[in-house]
């Protein structure tokens, strides 16, 4: 036979070879509660911080503009302060005493536990060393069979192998995976001395070559336990802690069909404004605004919660959003200033030519003056959007198509708006020109998403918003309405 035939024989045998797996155990182990991955937490925190700052700014603005409540300073007497201070000191002392007592109790308990553990571990370790060290107990090993009974090692039996020598585990407060790690650490140690094991194994094989029986894996494990080198508890502790600290990012495989995610989002909005004149008396103002008023950038921030079915790809996404739109009015006014100076307005020469007569008078001079004015006003919208969408995968990306309604529950204004010719109305103090809330709107868009971690997706989303109603009130002679085209970025962080 050729070595290559031999290899092919091995390959064909192992290609379809199957081992036995306890599927119930595997499935239950995979249902372990995951240690949440924190590697991309920074990104999420950044978004959350940006959102928090924007909302804080908005709320600060609202508080400052809308509230006219005077600040009241309460002056307390010295006696009150002293009493309060004393009482706080008393509380603090009491708290410190309680904490101190608790700490001393805890330390005492810890000492006891440590003593107990060290005593226990020393006993078990010394027992293992005395029983398992091949050099000390060589005669004992020779006298025994090479596959000793596991009952001789009660310290390991309770953890490694069950009472019936099967894969059953003793009850333990640790999760199943940790127990398996404990087991594997203990069992794997002799594998490092495989060469020495092989020598002993080969001798045994030569003696019993007639049978040429190869021990099964379980049997080999028992043999390995017999030659287990002395392991200190410290070593075991280190190995365990190495594994225990290694946070596995375990996805959950429950039967839950819905998942909850939190979605902070920011965006740039391009408002498309439409003005309609209601009262013909204000035609000039209307013309001025149409010609000179420009919608500049709008910003948008929102926080939404997404309930998504991973089975169907459908989701519903309620939330709260804030948007700010700024209008800029640029005036370029020209005026003519008439100035008069005294100067020669006529010169006459006599017929003889010897007399020159000059007539002086007022000379009118027109000076053209050009002035530029720039005035801003802002509209702040607070909405409650709710979207329904469908998600599907395209190559490495996920695309969400979504649409929904949003309800504007609050509108605030600031800045100055052109009200009459050369007259501005301060919107900070007077918001009669605009509604306090303008109600229903519709929006639709798509999200291009990319998964950046097991819990987080980043997306960029163009979105169009159509508002059914005008933002201006009935007192405003010019009807003002917005439709918005926005480009948004955000992240979807799965929290449940």
């Amino acid at each position: 036979m050729n070595i290559f035939d031999f290899e092919n024989r091995l390959k064909s045998h192992t290609a379809n070879a199957k081992g036995e797996v306890d599927m119930d155990r595997l499935l239950s182990d995979l249902n372990l509660t995951p240690a949440p991955k924190r590697s991309n937490r920074k990104l999420f925190l950044l978004f959350a911080a940006a959102l928090l700052v924007s909302f804080s700014a908005v709320s600060y603005y609202m508080f400052n503009t809308s509230s006219s409540v005077p600040i009241v300073h309460t002056i307390q007497s010295d006696n009150t302060d002293a009493t309060a201070e004393q009482s706080s000191n008393i509380i603090n002392e009491k708290t410190i005493q309680e904490i101190g007592t608790a700490t001393s109790k805890t330390s005492r308990i810890d000492n006891k536990v440590n003593q107990a553990q060290s005593t226990k571990s020393n006993n078990s370790t010394s027992k293992v060393i005395s029983q398992l060290n091949p050099e000390i107990q060589s005669t004992q090993i020779e006298a025994k069979d090479l596959t000793p009974e596991t009952e001789e090692y009660p310290t390991y039996n309770s953890v490694i192998i069950g009472e019936d020598n099967s894969q059953k585990r003793a009850p333990s407060p640790l999760p199943a995976r940790d127990i398996s790690i404990l087991n594997t650490n203990i069992i794997s140690a002799p594998l490092q001395n495989r060469e020495s094991l092989n020598i002993i194994d080969r001798e045994a094989q030569e003696e019993e070559l007639s049978s040429l029986k190869i021990a099964s894996n379980d049997k080999r494990s028992n043999q390995n336990i017999a030659f287990l080198p002395p392991l200190t508890n410290q070593l075991l502790k280190n190995e365990n802690s190495k594994f225990a600290n290694k946070g596995k990012d375990c996805p959950r495989f429950g039967n839950r069909a819905w998942h909850l995610s939190i979605i902070p989002e920011v965006g740039y909005a391009l408002p498309m404004k439409s003005l309609v004149l209601n009262d013909s008396d204000f035609q000039d103002i209307y013309d001025e605004r149409v010609q000179n008023e420009t919608s500049i950038e709008g910003i948008h921030a929102s926080l939404a919660f997404q309930f998504k079915s991973h089975v169907t790809g459908l989701y519903i996404k309620p939330g709260v959003s804030y948007a700010r739109f700024t209008e800029r009015l640029d005036f370029s006014r020209t005026a003519t200033k008439i100035d008069t100076t005294i100067g020669i307005i006529s010169t006459t020469i006599s017929q003889t030519g010897d007399t020159l007569t000059e007539i002086r008078g007022e000379i009118y001079e027109e000076i053209e003056i050009t002035s530029k004015e720039r005035v801003h006003y802002e509209l702040h919208h607070f909405d409650l959007p709710i979207a329904i969408g469908y998600s599907f995968v395209v190559d490495k990306f996920t695309i969400d198509l979504e649409g929904g309604i949003k309800f504007n529950f609050l509108q605030k204004t600031s800045g100055n708006i052109l009200h009459a010719e050369k007259e501005y109305l301060a919107l900070d103090k007077n918001q009669q020109q605009f509604k306090n809330s303008f109600g229903l709107g519709f929006f639709g868009g798509l999200l291009l998403k990319r998964q950046i971690s097991s819990h987080t997706e980043f997306y960029i989303a163009p979105r169009f918003t159509f508002n059914t109603l005008a933002v201006s009130s009935n007192k405003n002679p010019i009807n003002q309405k917005y439709n918005v085209l926005g480009l948004h970025v955000g992240c979807i962080y799965a929290i449940y």
């Binding site: 036979m1 050729n2 070595i3 290559f4 031999f6 290899e7 024989r9 091995l10 390959k11 045998h13 192992t14 070879a17 199957k18 081992g19 036995e20 797996v21 599927m23 595997l26 499935l27 182990d29 995979l30 894969q167 995976r177 398996s180 790690i181 087991n183 594997t184 650490n185 069992i187 794997s188 594998l191 490092q192 495989r194 092989n198 030569e206 070559l209 007639s210 040429l212 190869i214 894996n217 379980d218 080999r220 494990s221 190495k242 596995k248 990012d249 375990c250 996805p251 495989f253 995968v393 490495k396 998964q451 097991s454």
Partner: protein, 171 residues
């Protein structure tokens, strides 16, 4: 999972001899599969993809428990005949795999990766973080040692038969 778990546990056991460690490797393989399922492009077979994950997980567990696999570059590879004794034909596959396990660790791992899993030397070198030439030389060395072991096995078999024959003759 029910389809692949028996296959994957067998693969993991080839590289991690301890059953519990092999189970851990398989579990990690499933976790990685679920985690990176979107990265599966669909070009190759899914079997090959998941088996590759299993091999990598098993090697990773092995590395954690036993440290780095030390593979040294060999200057010279002995060229011996590729014929192996006929006694091999009488042995079962499990027994042959046991003999492969008895090879030096580096040879055994590379032999299994190359012969049993069918990975080219380039991939093996990438998996183990070694040179491609090291993978080749270790495979050659493993084959040599395997042939020598099989021959020794055959000699022992003949010796045992002679002893039995002698004992029968003695009465």
């Amino acid at each position: 999972m029910r389809l692949y778990a028996p296959i994957l546990i067998n693969i993991c056991k080839r590289y991690v001899y301890d059953p519990d460690l092999a189970y851990d490797a398989m579990q990690e393989c499933f976790l990685n599969t679920f985690k990176y399922i979107e990265k599966y492009s669909g070009k190759g077979s899914f079997d090959g993809w998941i088996k590759r994950i299993a091999v990598n997980c098993a090697l990773g567990v092995r590395k954690k428990m036993k440290g780095e696999l030390y593979i040294h570059e060999m200057d010279q590879v002995l060229h011996i005949t590729t014929d192996i004794p006929d006694a091999v034909a009488r042995l079962k596959e499990e027994e042959l795999l046991k003999i492969v396990d008895e090879l030096p660790e580096s040879c055994a791992v590379i032999f299994k990766l190359y012969v049993l899993e069918g990975y080219p030397h380039k991939d093996i070198a990438k998996m183990l973080g070694i040179k491609e030439s090291s993978s080749r030389s270790q495979l050659a060395r493993g084959r040599e040692k395997l042939i020598l072991r099989l021959r020794k096995l055959e000699e022992n078999e003949y010796r045992r038969m002679d002893n039995l024959f002698f004992q029968v003759q003695q009465g």
